[in-house]
Symmetry: C2
């Protein structure tokens, strides 16, 4: 069997920790059984490994998340990145096309599609294993997970089962319903409807046939290059609601979307993460600090405080659902980003009266990783090596660097760096305009 | 007449904006009549200039405040700095010695001693003008200001007037009382006692005689060098309580100590100072942000949020009196400091596994100012010039620098920089140990 983990999304509902470069599933705020912190995506991959599911994992994502996924999960995972952002149907079609054409999986092999961000326990994966068995036993063309509702939520699509159904843990599906209003949601609960959990199992050939309605090819590269021909539509609309034979398996265990600060804080490893001091007159308050400087809280109740290089949030827990609208324009660019080679953090970003800018970053480059050979037309960079050892290339000339060394990269000079041990660099960028897009990449054989 | 403004104190009651390098009286948070921001010390100097007081101002302070005073008030003020911290009597003795021996003021000239931090209005200075007249007219050896109490406070010393007194606005003093408990304070109010406002007027000769009890000299330099011989005692104990002829003039206008966040926020120029966004579900909340990154607040009530390079405070207004105990050890060093040449802000301070440290700062050097010629034994510095033009000296060699230039200063190299226009520099310091005390200063003729 094959598992396709969907890692999409971006945005600022968990601002300032999530930003356009770091979606919520990558925040290292949960506690793993070994006592370390882990992100949602690290947690789900660990849980799959510990479950009865024995499938190989392919992550379907967009190119902006590729580096952080490799950084968090290692080089061992298969990653399929969309060439452009469309919707869940094309994304899943591309990943299943990869399984069929590149990995040469059989059309009979079962495939599970699952999101990477619900916060769940072991039983969730047990139900998924049962879904896989149901698909393998031809219980239906498409098998999906129905979450037993806890309240008439207006945030989920619903799955209505056939009432005349006999089997205890598997139902045929009568119909699907869009996110309802509260009145409709109450009526759906009376019909024993489930929330659509976004988990699907089918045999690979089922999706291969659907892809062929749009693109006929046996080459994954061709499918990838013709990605724009796939309709911009959700998997639910294009596949689930059109399927003739659909079964639903209920799940009624722990299942939480940690998509708001209020819901996330209930699962945090501690009330105070990072450089934090909390006074005695504080109640039900969570502080998460990714900054070097300390945060001190006292005399407050029911609030969330979060600090990152992107900004500082001080928010009543009850209000945390709506922060996105307020913060969307607060941080013009991500101030922290994980890359394949490590990560960077912006310390300062100043624009001078003549429009010229400076941007000061700490770069952490992991041992043996490298920053690609590149050139900027409108900016200079000064690297001060503060820890570790590495090799620098400037216009083809190689030189070893270590603590105390300074590398000045003028406009239009090609440059690259490779870490021999974990490297820390203070980088000052200067230019006008100073934009990420001012970059040309070249090959360099290390 | 002469005015001695006492600028003492330090500490963290207004942390993170106040620190050991920036006392509360230097925080630029008040609004001047012209709509700009001003600090408490800038406000009182402006108010003196606008008042009936026509005296020259001498500021009595300690050496750590000298640079920030010059930076905020300009080069035109007289500053007398104690060679070591003792108490208010020696500090006032030194400043009056300066008036007598260096400025050659007459023993008959009236002197007013006043603190630089009460938040007051015009009437306060009118009473001080009346105190000066009283001293000049020999109403008493020592004339002091009595603040009409608003409540039985335990935080102030009290001045008890003679009841048989006749004049309406001037009283002879019967006795002084230390900070009382609440019961004693209520009894003092029944006796029509005043709070001791810390404002004193006398003729210069009166203090000169008292100094001569300890040190007989006509040289201010000698007084300064023998400063340690003056007793470590407050002006109240040594002078006020021993005086035989003391008068008190009452003041009952606006008089506030802005020494806690709660009292300060009532006088701030705005609810949101700096890069701040406040959501609609927020009540009675003040946010002061000296950081580049944004602070967003919503769904909170009756709190103070303050951010500076030293840290971030989130505090219920009612709890703001006690923060000092919590934050005393949070910031190991001031992360923002004003110097005579401008200011610096620490962006990053990292200690590596081998004890080596890096410290990254933004330096803002004002046009025509300079950083003294100096040498460090255990650290290197890398300066990246990001804005402006200047002249650098390294081991006696002079070179002009401007935007984009990089200056590397190795251990033991003498170096200095002068700004030709306002200069901004990103400085990376590296060393072990990395301490402020690792500095030797030399002369350089610009």
């Amino acid at each position: 069997m094959q598992i396709i983990l969907l890692s999409g999304g971006s945005g600022k509902r968990l601002w300032p920790l999530s930003n356009n470069a770091r979606s919520k599933q990558f925040l290292p705020l949960l506690q793993s059984p070994s006592g370390e912190t882990e992100s949602m995506v690290q947690r789900v991959v660990r849980q799959i490994g510990e479950s009865r599911l024995s499938g190989e994992i392919t992550i379907a994502t967009n190119s902006s998340q590729r580096d952080i996924i490799i950084n968090q999960l290692g080089e061992g995972v298969d990653i399929v990145t969309e060439p452009e952002r469309r919707d869940t149907f094309p994304a899943i079609a591309l990943a299943t096309g990869y399984l069929s054409m590149t990995k040469k999986c059989s059309n009979d092999e079962a495939v599970v599609i699952m999101p990477c961000d619900p916060y769940t326990e072991t039983e969730y994966f047990d139900v998924i294993a049962d879904m896989v068995s149901a698909a393998e036993n031809n219980a239906a063309d498409l098998v999906l997970m129905g979450i037993t509702p806890t309240h008439p939520s207006t945030k989920f699509g619903y799955v209505v089962p056939c009432p005349e159904n006999s089997a205890k843990n598997i139902f045929r599906v009568k119909r699907f319903t869009e996110k309802p209003d509260t009145e409709r949601a109450k009526a759906l609960l009376a019909e024993n409807a489930f929330w659509n959990g976004g988990v699907f199992a089918f045999r690979l050939g089922y999706m291969v046939n659907i892809i062929e309605k749009y693109i006929t090819t046996s080459s994954f590269e061709e499918l990838h290059s013709r990605y724009g021909e796939l309709p911009k539509i959700s998997f639910d609309y294009e596949v689930v609601e059109k399927a003739e034979s659909v079964a639903v398996l209920p799940f009624n265990g722990k299942w939480k979307d940690l998509g708001t600060w209020n819901s996330l804080t209930e699962e945090l490893s501690s009330n105070a993460i990072g450089n934090v001091a909390i006074g005695e007159q504080t109640e039900n308050t969570h502080v998460v600090n990714e900054l070097g400087m300390p945060i001190f809280c006292n005399g407050v109740k029911d609030i969330i405080v979060a600090g990152s290089p992107d900004g500082i949030l001080v928010c009543g827990k009850e209000c945390s659902e709506n922060i996105k609208n307020y913060v969307d324009n607060l941080s013009p660019r991500p101030m922290y980003e994980e890359r394949r080679w490590g990560n960077y953090r912006v310390l300062d970003n100043t624009t001078y009266s003549d429009g010229y800018q400076s941007l000061t970053k700490v770069l952490n480059i992991k041992s043996e990783r490298f920053i690609s050979y590149q050139r900027h037309n409108n900016r200079e960079e000064v690297w001060t090596i503060v820890d570790g050892e590495g090799v620098v290339v400037i216009d083809g000339e190689i030189r070893n660097v270590s603590r105390g060394d300074v590398v000045v990269i003028r406009q239009k000079q090609k440059h690259a760096i490779k870490a021999l041990t974990d490297l820390q660099i203070l980088e000052v960028q200067m230019g006008n305009p100073l934009i990420e897009e001012d970059i040309e990449r070249f090959d360099w054989e290390w």
